[in-house]
């Protein structure tokens, strides 16, 4: 496990970190569109989006460093799905808020952010919200900053390193050219990139304990969200066509017998790049 570097300050107040975790169909399985609605099918068992395991690990390390506090998971998923939440609870999160409601089917990024922002408020006094930079199945990549705007908080996006000290969060933010050091006071939303920390594997003890950890299940109306703000109505978009992408044909294939590099040179010559 990569430790979070920086000055260890155990005199801080308890830290409450909320982590948004998405529960998704196993990405190893071939995806399918629902022919009726043209949206991704999200039936069957869902699992913890691996991209969010980094946020969970980061949250656990930050709370550990603060000396006290806890990690609350926040998730929106169909059919009261908890499998992915149990995985993250087994890693060490204390509890979860799960929003599940048929009225949320078809929710786009903005509606999702509205739901998650309300769920974060429901989780109590939160110092920090962690998310991934983008989900594996939807990869809109806008939900984290949308949540921050809804809460009226700063957002520090694309973090590849996170430090907390004196009520301030400082990150290394990925840029086109390298990275920037960005800070803001708490509470804030931080989106973390894959690889920011090494997620732990749940221990057997952790898995057993996870079964009894509290999951606060609620609906859109429990959060005060009307049916016109979320789900199909909130999305304000329709898929009008679905088609196969033009396929690319395989070309020549050679086994290397010690001279394949010559064929590569020839090919590059033909293309006039050398």
């Amino acid at each position: 496990m990569k430790p979070v570097t920086g000055i260890i300050d155990r005199s801080q107040e308890p830290m409450h970190v909320a982590v948004c975790v998405k529960q998704i169909p196993d990405p190893a399985m071939p995806g399918e569109l629902d022919p009726g609605t043209n949206t991704l099918k999200r039936e069957g068992k869902l699992i913890l989006d691996e991209s969010d395991s980094y946020g969970v690990e980061m949250a656990l390390q930050l709370v550990d460093k603060a000396g006290s506090g806890e990690v609350t998971l926040v998730s929106m998923a169909p059919n009261n799905e908890v499998s992915g939440l149990r995985t993250a609870l087994a890693m060490g999160a204390a509890k979860a808020v799960l929003v599940s409601d048929p009225a949320l089917a078809g929710s786009d990024a903005l509606s999702t952010a509205k739901v998650l922002a309300k769920a974060i408020e429901r989780a109590g006094d939160v110092d920090l919200v962690l998310t991934a930079t983008e989900s594996t199945d939807g990869y809109t990549g806008t939900v984290p900053a949308q949540i921050a705007e809804l809460l009226g908080w700063p957002s520090l996006t694309f973090a590849k390193h996170v430090d907390i000290a004196d009520g301030k969060v400082t990150i290394q933010r990925q840029t086109e050219a390298g990275y920037d050091v960005v800070s803001a006071s708490l509470p804030a939303v931080v989106s973390v990139t894959a690889g920011v920390v090494e997620p732990r594997y749940p221990s057997f003890k952790g898995i057993m304990a996870a079964k009894n950890k509290p999951v606060d299940q609620c609906t859109a109306s429990d959060l005060g969200l009307g049916a016109d703000q979320v789900g199909w109505a909130g999305a304000r978009q329709t898929i009008v066509s679905v088609g196969a992408a033009p396929a690319r044909e395989a070309g020549e294939k050679v086994e290397d017998d010690g001279s394949a590099h010559e064929r590569v040179v020839q090919f590059l010559e033909q293309l006039k790049v050398i």
Binding site: G178, A194, V242, A245, L268
Partner: protein, 319 residues
């Protein structure tokens, strides 16, 4: 149709992705304007105008995150400017600006766009799903402006021959607590040769190169000899062998060079989606069944440690 482009800069020039968006905007719009957050707006007015913007609304964000100021600036302009469509590049700052603006205006977003069509009043965005195997088109409903993020390299950048854009200063922008996020240092990674996205030749390495220490002698050397740029699969970025800026694929960069050379890369759909628009693809992989061979114009079934050093020697001998 009135289209606005959220403009970004690289140094004192507009980013290529901004010029791509302006080129597309010119094709679909009657009026094209740019909104730029950052220093040196005057220096950008020339090229932004040349590619199609008549006006560039500009504000300097100082050390505040650009996307945060961008969203607040756009929100303040929308009421009077009444754009139908606002285009963002799918970049770090572009996504921040788009996300926050969508909340301020309460409008949905469509992201990861690869195509854009306008039919009368209707705006459709083309995206790829299932690792690029399926293309879908999504149409906006509801009130304008429509907000769209387009992946860089989706459109060509072509000059429209226009004169410099008029610079219109945006007054004070209030982004609230969001503006507390301040940049204190900027680290620029050293780069030799062309940019990954602009290079004619891209040589990428994957887990099959065996270790971080092999990236320079195999991947970078070959890229250098071909006047190209070096890239990577996510596997070796996550492993910490090379920085994220080199990642090609769904969560990295899209490249469309004349020649793409994949060394020790299996060819997962998430990698392919970032490079299968290349004119020519060469792959070296020791597993003859690797999916990368399904799209390679020239596939070499062999060991990168044998093939690549010989290739490098031969190319060096020709120099």
């Amino acid at each position: 149709m009135r289209v606005w482009v959220y403009a970004e800069a690289e140094g004192d020039k507009p980013a290529t992705s901004t010029l791509e968006l302006l080129t597309k905007a010119r094709e679909i719009a009657d009026t094209v304007e740019a909104v730029y957050v950052g220093p040196n707006a005057e220096a950008l007015a020339g090229p932004l105008g040349e590619y199609g913007a008549t006006t560039v609304h500009a504000v300097d964000n100082g050390d505040t995150l650009a996307g945060v100021v961008g969203a607040a600036a756009l929100a303040s302009l929308v009421a009077s400017g009444a754009p139908d469509l606002i285009l963002f590049a799918q970049t770090y700052d572009g996504r921040d600006a788009l996300a926050r603006l969508s909340v301020k205006l309460d409008r949905p977003v469509l992201t990861n766009g690869l195509g854009l069509t306008v039919d009368g009043d209707k705006v459709r965005v083309g995206t790829a799903i299932f690792g690029g195997n399926t293309l879908i088109e999504t149409e906006f409903e509801g009130e304008k402006p429509y907000l769209v993020a387009i992946r860089p390299k989706s459109f060509a950048a072509e000059s429209g021959g226009g004169g410099a854009a008029t610079v219109a200063a945006i007054g004070d922008v209030d982004a609230g607590r969001a503006a507390e996020a301040k940049v204190s240092e900027r680290h620029v990674e050293e780069r030799e040769g062309p940019k990954l996205e602009d290079a004619t030749v891209v040589v990428s390495g994957g887990r099959g190169i065996g270790g971080a220490e092999n990236y320079e002698p195999l991947v970078e050397q070959l890229a250098k000899l071909l006047g190209g740029a070096s890239g990577a699969s996510r596997a070796i970025v996550d492993a910490g062998w090379v920085p994220y800026s080199k990642q090609v694929g769904q969560t990295g960069k899209t490249v469309k060079p004349k020649v793409y050379i994949a060394l020790g890369i299996s060819g997962a759909t998430q990698h392919l989606v970032g490079m299968k628009g290349s004119d020519n693809i060469i792959a070296v992989n020791k597993d003859g069944e690797a999916p990368i061979f399904g799209i390679a114009d020239l596939g070499v079934v062999g060991d990168v440690h044998k093939v690549v050093p010989k290739l490098i020697e031969t190319l060096k001998a020709r120099h």
